[in-house]
């Protein structure tokens, strides 16, 4: 069953798994996990360079921007203004217009500030950014972000780094049904079955970081996630059977012995 390519912001990708680069032991492990995941889009954070330790290695020496689509995020931003400034700086590094917009509303839950996210998205889209907003699993907000011109919507499955899996599959189903842009589940995935579930629901992709980087064996988990996203996607396209309350026999009821 030949799948269509994953279209995002005018580019096509084979992999529907987007991976982060945070929380790894070192850049070598980051590179190995990214490679094993098969991801073609990789998120990074934007931070001040370390002035005192100038010999330090650079992430882009390990994750080659010629090979991977780099997706800078606005993690740590609590206002639209900070997020916009971060995106402008990220673009100036020279890896393209794609940005993962996240404006955090609360330190403990890391849930998005929806009003500020909408505000920042409006400005960034006007400035030519291809905006991928991290957002609450709220169908109306996802619609608004789509209307503004975001190239994807990225509802959370559960709080960032929580590993709780998909808390509200029914909201996600509504978001998917209404969306004209790709729906990418971002945040909250804990293990392979969570990623498969997102894809079975009909999501276009899954974005994760902690689930891989925080696993006992990140490289093995990266592969598990690759397979889960592929399996979930294939199951979605294959079309699952209806859920029924009672049994239906799998073996013929005729020709029984005796």
């Amino acid at each position: 069953m030949q799948d269509t390519l994953f279209e995002l912001g005018g580019r096509k990708f084979k992999s529907r798994l987007i991976v982060g680069t945070g929380k790894y032991r070192d850049f070598a492990e980051t590179r190995a996990a990214v490679e094993e995941s098969g991801a073609e889009i990789v998120t990074v954070a934007v931070r001040r360079v370390n002035i005192t330790d100038r010999g330090k290695e650079n992430l882009l020496d390990f994750i080659d921007p010629k090979r991977y689509q780099i997706l800078p995020n606005t993690a740590g931003c609590f206002t639209a203004e900070e997020a916009i400034r971060t995106c402008r700086l990220a673009r100036e590094v020279g890896v393209g217009e794609l940005v993962k917009l996240e404006v955090i509303g609360d330190q403990q839950t890391l849930f998005p500030d929806v009003a500020a996210t909408l505000e920042a998205a409006r400005v960034l889209v006007k400035e030519g950014f291809k905006v991928m907003p991290y957002v609450t699993d709220d169908p109306v907000t996802c619609l608004r972000l789509q209307e503004i011109g975001c190239v994807a919507v990225m509802p959370l499955a559960a709080p960032i780094g929580s590993g709780l899996g998909i808390r509200n599959p029914f909201n996600l189903a509504i978001i998917i049904e209404q969306a004209k842009v790709p729906v990418i589940v971002d945040a909250g995935v804990g293990t392979a079955s969570d990623a498969a579930e997102a894809m079975e629901l009909g999501c276009d992709g899954v974005l994760m970081n902690t689930a891989i980087a925080g696993a006992k064996d990140p490289i093995a988990m990266a592969r598990a996630m690759k397979l889960a996203v592929e399996a979930g996607r294939l199951a979605y396209r294959a079309g699952r059977i209806e859920r029924k309350l009672y049994a239906t026999a799998s073996s013929p009821l005729t020709g029984l012995i005796g």
Binding site: L89, E92, M208
Partner: protein, 72 residues
Amino acid sequence: MPDATATSITLNGDPYPLDGDTPLNALLEQLKMRRGRVAVEINREIVPKANYDATIVRPGDQVEIINFVGGG
């Protein structure tokens, strides 16, 4: 506003000594920063890469240099 009596800039939030007006390129070289890996703001204005040669950093300037680090 640049301060005429200053002998340093504020670089990523900390004071950094600067001997008078310095081309941005020279400052980046001094810091061993590769232009393909960073982005620069001076007094909250982004400096496009094409202007690195022509841009002068002046004592008193607020300079931010960012790069990409691991993140989700």
